[in-house]
Symmetry: C2
């Protein structure tokens, strides 16, 4: 497939398409129209057609899209078919939540190691056969294993200190759950998950509903407890 330069906005919608097509596959749906995709994905049918056209277009007029073919094609574009290896750095609740999330594994992201400053605190943890190693073992581990991605699920100070070790060890993608924005050299990709930003945005949107919904939101009950 010939690939042109694809706008960032299109790329950030692809995982959404992929996720939704996966749900359709699980439900046994074989084909879907852009109108149906549009209803669920809250985008116009024309936008969806345009998005998918960036990749050669998978649809046929009057038939719609073959769900499995589209699912697999987008999966290839996302590189899910070749797979990624991932380590978790920080074995707190968030780190273990990420490590044990089966959906990532199903998507081709295999957790191959979990690290923590204090592995003794996590002696009983075992996520699909993986136990928690000490951070001091990280450089050696990276030397002996191909690791594509590190999920950084530790406090900010620790995250900033461990980042150079990851990069030195050949990690090419950092999935950053810490509070800090991290500096990385070219060739290393950062994807931030700042959960508190997401929560603050929810708060803002709750307080600033569009005018036509104001009546509904004004019916909010008063506090009792």
């Amino acid at each position: 497939m010939e690939e042109r330069t694809i706008p960032g906005a299109v790329i950030s919608r692809l995982p959404k398409y992929y996720r939704y097509l996966g749900i359709l596959m699980d439900e046994g749906v074989e084909r879907v129209s852009s109108a149906e995709l549009s209803r669920t994905l809250h985008a116009t049918a024309s936008q969806i057609r345009q998005d998918l056209n960036h990749f050669g277009g998978f649809g046929q007029q009057g038939y719609g899209y073959n769900v499995q073919y589209l699912y697999e094609s987008i999966g290839k574009i996302l590189g899910l078919d070749s797979g990624y290896t991932m380590i978790i750095v920080g074995a707190g609740r968030m780190g273990l939540a990420v490590a044990s999330y089966e959906r990532f594994e199903k998507r081709g992201f295999s957790v191959v190691g979990i690290f923590d400053r204090d592995p003794g605190k996590h002696k009983d943890v075992n996520v699909r056969g993986i136990t928690v190693r000490g951070l001091d073992q990280l450089p050696e581990f990276l030397k002996n294993n191909q690791v594509d991605i590190a999920a950084l699920t530790m406090p900010s100070e620790g995250a900033a200190k461990v980042t150079p070790i990851l990069i030195e060890g050949g990690v090419k993608g950092i999935w950053n759950f810490s509070h800090m924005d991290l500096d990385v050299p070219e060739g290393v990709t950062i994807q931030n998950v700042h959960l508190s930003e997401s929560l603050m945005e929810l708060g803002y949107r709750m307080n600033h509903l569009p005018d036509h919904t104001k009546k509904v939101s004004a019916s909010r009950k008063t506090a009792k407890g």
Copy 2:
């Protein structure tokens, strides 16, 4: 402060400003220029000035921004000063990670309850004095307590079933960690945290680096382990 209609893109940047200003406050920084903000936030100084002008503008030519004043003003715009009450629905690893994240509490989001289908499994859990209640107690709890936000950290099927109960109980914001897109009536706000989408986007970006960085990424070592 007079408020005009603010573009969605500006709003989604506000939490980022707020987070970064909080870091500056912690470091004891009293004022900051838009040039400095721009360097850290990867936006142009002119964009930052424009963004902040939507709220009346807090800067003074040649002085920059007063960090604390700007921090508090953005906090008010985000509604953080009035505070939000939040429950966690689903006491798996992700739910407990969210429940125990102190930064949310500091931002004005107070966790007031944790619910799970199987509270017996979580008898020993105690997050800042809060124990895990059964889902069957949810309607009664919502009747007796003002709950603004529910974080949905349970599997998709469960999330779809519990959503009407939350809405019936007066919850106005749903922070959705489940795989599904949820349908809610007008007046209820959904904020999705689809972690697998974020991870897939990271994978895509790693595989499609801009041309000038290709040389760096080609130096990837081969697998050994």
